[in-house]
């Protein structure tokens, strides 16, 4: 069972895209090792200041370092006690869904359920051919690969045939999900209605990037997701599980924040040399100013999007030095998030679900009863005979040789 603390209406955390960017104020570019260790320090500090989630992106080209998020997150889970470790995003298009099923089920076990993952299609075109895929098939890949991943976590023995992957016969993805509960999945999207539809179809979470574009784009996506969540019978539109990105830079005095962040903004790979910081902050959720300005801006998010479950901030990018990022975390943890927790809890309808946790999902499935503890059947070299290669505990009386609960 998870060692997580009790249910929370909303989870707050940070997300990193793992960029290694030259600090424009010093001219210094950190090494990969420096940046990887700095990100571990940032992520562990997120827990120390009272945040709930750390999420890491996935990239396979410089200037990014995060090619192997599950390895990084396992190290982070070992250094923390309460933090939920997640991704932003895991590439559902170019990763083999079998490897995603295996790696993240493993992460679920070693983190005692303190994990979930966010799936996305990625934004680096060449990553498709590097992994033998065709970018023109991005959406069909996202749809088919997730269908397989979903199945691998829920069925012990899978027969599978699709368009994109070698067929599977009698395949068992190991380890089985912790306590018999598949990791929670968020479907991340910047602008694709089909991904909102996918999240709604499965009753999974939907995470809107909420960084790059004006809120109107995300409002339409989230509204679509909520409507379709209800359409597929998972609850009311208000009960759909929504996460949002965001980005902030803070200082006690608003003008200090503006002055300190401007050189980073002006040279940032994603928006540098384009719109002014003032224009960009007006058009997008980027907020550069006092903690109170950040509180005001983000407390208003539920007016735009409805009550939601997860808020992740991007704070460690564009060459900002470790010391600055840790200070930002201190401000977030002490001055911003506690107030946002209170503000966003006010008048929150009882029907709006809490943020998803492993413990809550286990309780929903098993109540107070025993959870599933998958144990491979004895002396079984294959998993092609019988209906399960597992005997579960508590083992039914007379269980032997892969006898399943159903048979007993």
């Amino acid at each position: 069972m998870s060692e997580q603390s009790g249910a929370q209406a909303m989870q707050f955390g940070i997300m990193s895209v793992s960029d290694i960017t030259r600090d424009p104020t010093t001219g210094v570019t950190p090494s990969e090792q420096e940046r990887i260790k700095a990100t571990l320090a940032i992520a562990t500090h997120a827990e120390e200041v009272g945040l709930d989630v750390f999420a890491i992106g996935e990239h396979h080209n410089p200037p990014f370092w995060s090619s192997s998020p599950s390895t990084f997150l396992a190290a982070l889970a070992a250094r923390t006690e309460r933090l939920i470790v997640s991704t932003s995003t895991t590439l559902i298009t170019t990763n083999d869904p079998v490897r995603i099923a295996e790696e993240y089920a493993m992460l679920q076990h070693v983190s005692d359920g303190r994990m979930d993952l966010m799936l996305g299609r990625g934004n680096t075109g060449p990553v498709y051919p590097w992994f033998g895929q065709d970018i023109r098939q991005g959406l069909p890949l996202a749809i088919e690969n997730y269908a397989l991943l979903h199945k691998l976590w829920r069925e012990d023995v899978v027969d599978w045939e699709g368009k994109f992957r070698t067929p599977l016969q009698g395949f068992t993805s190991t380890p089985r999900p912790l306590d018999g509960i598949a990791p929670f999945v968020w479907h991340g999207s910047i602008r694709t209605p089909e991904i909102a539809e996918q999240a709604a179809y499965y009753g999974d979470g939907f995470f809107a990037n909420n960084i790059f574009w004006p809120k109107e784009h995300y409002q339409r996506l989230i509204e679509l997701y909520r409507q379709r969540y209800a359409h597929y019978g998972h609850g009311t539109p208000e009960q759909a599980i929504v996460g949002l990105g965001g980005q902030v830079f803070m200082a006690a005095k608003s003008q200090d924040a503006v002055n300190s962040f401007r050189p980073y903004f002006d040279n940032a790979p994603v928006y540098g040399h384009g719109p002014s910081m003032e224009d960009f902050t007006e058009m997008t959720p980027l907020t550069v100013g006092s903690p109170q300005q950040v509180i005001d801006r983000y407390a208003a998010m539920r007016e735009h999007y409805g009550d939601y479950q997860r808020q992740l901030f991007l704070i460690d990018h564009a060459g900002l030095p470790l010391k600055t990022v840790l200070e930002q975390l201190d401000i977030l943890g002490s001055e911003v998030v506690p107030v946002l927790r209170r503000e966003l809890a006010k008048d929150r309808p009882a029907a709006v679900p809490d943020a998803p946790t492993h413990a809550a999902r286990v309780a929903a499935e098993f109540g107070d009863g025993p959870t599933r503890q998958a144990r491979p059947g004895a002396n079984r070299g294959d998993n092609l005979t019988g209906d399960s290669p597992y005997q579960d505990t508590p083992a039914p009386a007379g269980a032997a040789f892969g006898l399943s609960r159903k048979e007993a």
Binding site: E197, A200, D279
Partner: protein, 214 residues
């Protein structure tokens, strides 16, 4: 009387601009030709010069600032487009192409377009057909067969006296009016309507194909 909406995109860089003069003539003549068919038309003119910074910002950030977004919506939701650009180095201007580049590649599909261009001398007149027309062909827009090119001399006494500018404008405008009259009024599909991306009456199960047993 039915009503239609024409968007005019003018990529001239100076003010006043002969590109805009040509655009206005094409628009006025098209409205006249439509009126003769008992079709009332309104005209929205987009001067790209006013959006030059926004267009660059859109290229860098991936989204249109509010003013540019309004202009884009005006263009993609119009019943027809009159597109006029100066000829720079044998082709459309960079600003014109940058504006096209921030549109969704499918946004002009099936839209009637009248192409206009201007340059210092008539030696550039073929640029409409070897540079601009292929761009609209790529976008699956329906460019009418007459493109109207105006050289500097067309505005003064030494213009083409076999087919003077006014006659060419009239010919192009008449073709555009005919194309508009043939088409139903534009209804833009809502990308956030499930019927748009799934198909009418279909569910996500259809996208999964055999995977969901549908």
């Amino acid at each position: 009387m039915t009503t239609r909406r024409i968007a005019v995109v003018s990529a001239g860089l100076s003010n006043p601009s002969s590109t805009r003069m040509l655009a206005d003539r094409l628009a006025a003549e098209t409205v006249k030709a439509l009126a003769a068919r008992d079709i009332e038309a309104s005209v929205d003119v987009i001067e790209l010069r006013d959006y030059a910074h926004d267009i660059t910002n859109n290229l860098l950030t991936g989204f249109a600032p509010p003013a540019l977004e309004t202009a884009i919506n005006t263009v993609v939701s119009a019943d027809a487009l009159i597109a006029v650009t100066p000829i720079f180095s044998t082709s459309y201007s960079g600003l014109f192409k940058s504006f096209i580049d921030v549109l969704d590649p499918d946004a002009l599909t099936g839209k009637p377009v009248l192409i206009g261009a201007n340059a210092g001398t008539a030696r550039h007149s073929l640029a409409i057909d070897y540079a601009i027309r292929p761009l609209f062909a790529y976008l699956h827009a329906e460019a009418v067969s007459t493109g109207v090119f105006a050289a500097s001399s067309d505005w003064g006494g030494a213009g083409d006296d076999v087919a003077p500018l006014a006659r060419r404008v009239e010919k192009g405008a008449k073709e555009l009016a005919e194309a508009i009259a043939r088409q139903d009024s534009t209804a833009v599909a809502d990308p956030y309507d499930p019927a748009t991306y799934l198909g009418e009456g279909r569910s996500f199960g259809h996208m999964l194909g055999g995977l969901a047993g549908e």
